[in-house]
Amino acid sequence: MYIVDYIKEVASAVKSLATGMKLTGYYFTHPKEIITQEYPDNRATLKMADRFKGEVIMPHDENNEHACTGCTSCELACPNGSIKVITKFEVNAEGKKKKAVDQHIYHLDMCTMCNLCIEACPTDAIKMANTFEHSVPDRNMLIKRLNNNGSKIREGVE
């Protein structure tokens, strides 16, 4: 009968709306379900994934030595030219001239964190750090020199 169908239709409609309201009502009364992280406040406990690609760094050991040979593999691998390796010739103990890195310039502002330079590096001299707070007042500060002042290549790295 038409009128019965009409009432059934209204009843099922009201029921479907009530199920939805029950769900939002559940979350309203259960504040424990809140998933928000209060970011600047939880900085001390915030743990980033160890593989997170934040920026390229060149680790130095305690003797201020790195593993970069200045081979420019990373520069060639970079798709958007954010790495520039300036090389120099060093005279080693035997009096031989040898290519070495003078300045490893890294443009964080152009980097897309694609990880190709790290894959290309034959000596594992650079790696990705999981830092992520990169905001600076001037974009020139994003152009970084990765090798420290006065740093040397580690012994035995070819």
């Binding site: 409609a13 479907s16 769900l23 998933i35 593989r51 691998a77 798709p79 964190m113 694609c114 190709l116």
Partner: protein, 386 residues
């Protein structure tokens, strides 16, 4: 769509009906480029008669970054990272297509472990993409809350991605010959013990909140009707075409990697309306769960990456590879001159073809229907413009 005689006069000038964009008394409004309904910078010039839509005219190019041209100057290792930025919601699958193409051209045998990981990642990406679509579509319809529920599950997924790939959105994880890293040691545990149970326990909430809702059903039932023939002639693919009954899942038709070893159903609806498109995507989430469940505990040991040369040179010729992204069929076409960079590259993106049917399916409906149709087409604007 149009025959040449319909478009041109005998003296090769355009016929007037194709010159005049609008009549003088048409009420046109611009939806976009900055508009809450178009997630991104899509510009739709819509012509109205009261509330009824007479014509929808998409205006593209606001986020055109000439990715195809950029790829011509990048090597075959480098061009993969750019494709993450096309359809950023299925970046793994875009990368997968590019990696597959290079492997196909160089005839590299990909280790089985890498194939398993790739397929798992693809399906996780598909789930993430469909979850985001679900929330965003509900928001288009005026319900704000689903967005946050969808993001709760997606957040765990992005954390899993972050552990393994080091990124949350633009992964660049697939490389020619395999994947970039071995999965994180917690990967299997987090996917099988944390993510899948969470998602399964929350799927009923989606049904309670949106699918079963009478207002939502009235908004999408019979709205934006795309027939089987139209879906084919407009070149629609993915869930949009499958909702019209087109058998077009590339994973079934042209299986790549280990898709031929897993059991899954190609979700097909025949109604062709917005509700069908919605149901296809919701059911695809379930199918993706089942694919991941079949693979996640059976990842074979071995290398995650095949040995490839440092500099990749594709042989001279033309190569084409297609994959099924969350939105449809992505085709990568490369013309190689034998060098280290492609001579010409063309991406056949699913969003562009799916958008082309928008005018057809919304003609004569209300503005609210336009939003519903657009929401269920699942448009990602950078994918359309590239």
């Amino acid at each position: 769509m149009y025959h040449i005689n319909e478009l041109l006069n005998s003296d090769n000038t355009l016929k007037p009906s194709f010159v005049a964009m609008k009549e003088s008394d048409d009420y046109t409004i611009n939806i976009g480029p900055q508009h809450p309904a178009t997630h991104g910078v899509l510009h739709l010039v819509i012509t109205l008669n009261g509330e009824t839509i007479k014509k929808v005219d998409p205006d593209l190019g606001f986020i055109h970054r000439s990715i195809e041209k950029m790829c011509e100057s990048l090597s075959y290792r480098q061009y993969i990272y750019v494709t993450s930025r096309m359809d950023y919601l299925s970046s793994h699958i875009n990368n997968h297509a590019c990696a597959l193409l290079v492997e196909k051209a160089l005839q590299v045998e990909v280790p089985e472990r890498a194939q398993y990981i790739r397929v798992i990642m693809d399906e996780l990406t598909r789930i993430a993409s469909h979850l985001l679509w679900w929330g965003a579509m509900a928001m288009d319809m005026g319900a704000f809350t689903p967005y946050f529920y969808a993001f709760r599950e997606r957040e765990l997924l992005t954390e899993i991605m972050e552990d393994t790939c080091g990124a949350r959105l633009t992964m660049n994880y697939m490389v020619p010959g395999g994947v970039m890293h071995d999965p994180h040691e917690t990967f299997v545990h987090r996917v099988s013990k944390e993510f899948l149970p969470l998602l399964k326990s929350k799927l009923h909430e989606y049904e309670e909140l949106v699918t079963g809702n009478i207002i939502f059903q009235n908004r999408v039932n019979g709205v934006g009707l795309l027939t089987y023939e139209d879906a084919i002639s407009y070149g629609c693919s993915g869930p949009t075409a499958r909702a019209s009954g087109v058998h077009c899942d590339i994973r079934k038709l042209y299986p790549y990697d280990v898709y031929n070893k897993v059991q899954f159903e190609e979700v097909i609806e025949t109604a062709g309306d917005s509700m069908a498109r919605y149901m296809v995507r919701m059911n695809e989430i379930k199918q993706s769960i089942s694919i991941i469940e079949q693979l996640i505990n059976n990842i074979p040991e071995g290398d995650f990456q095949a040995k490839t040369k440092a500099v990749l040179k594709l042989p001279k010729g033309e190569f084409y590879q297609r994959v099924e992204t969350a939105r449809g069929e992505l085709g990568v076409f490369v013309v190689s001159e034998g060098g280290t960079t492609p001579y010409r590259i063309k991406f056949r993106s699913p969003g562009f073809s799916n958008l082309s049917c928008l005018d057809h399916i919304t003609k004569g409906s209300k503005i609210g229907d336009l939003v519903a149709s657009m929401g269920t087409l699942d448009l990602v604007i950078p994918d359309i413009d590239r």
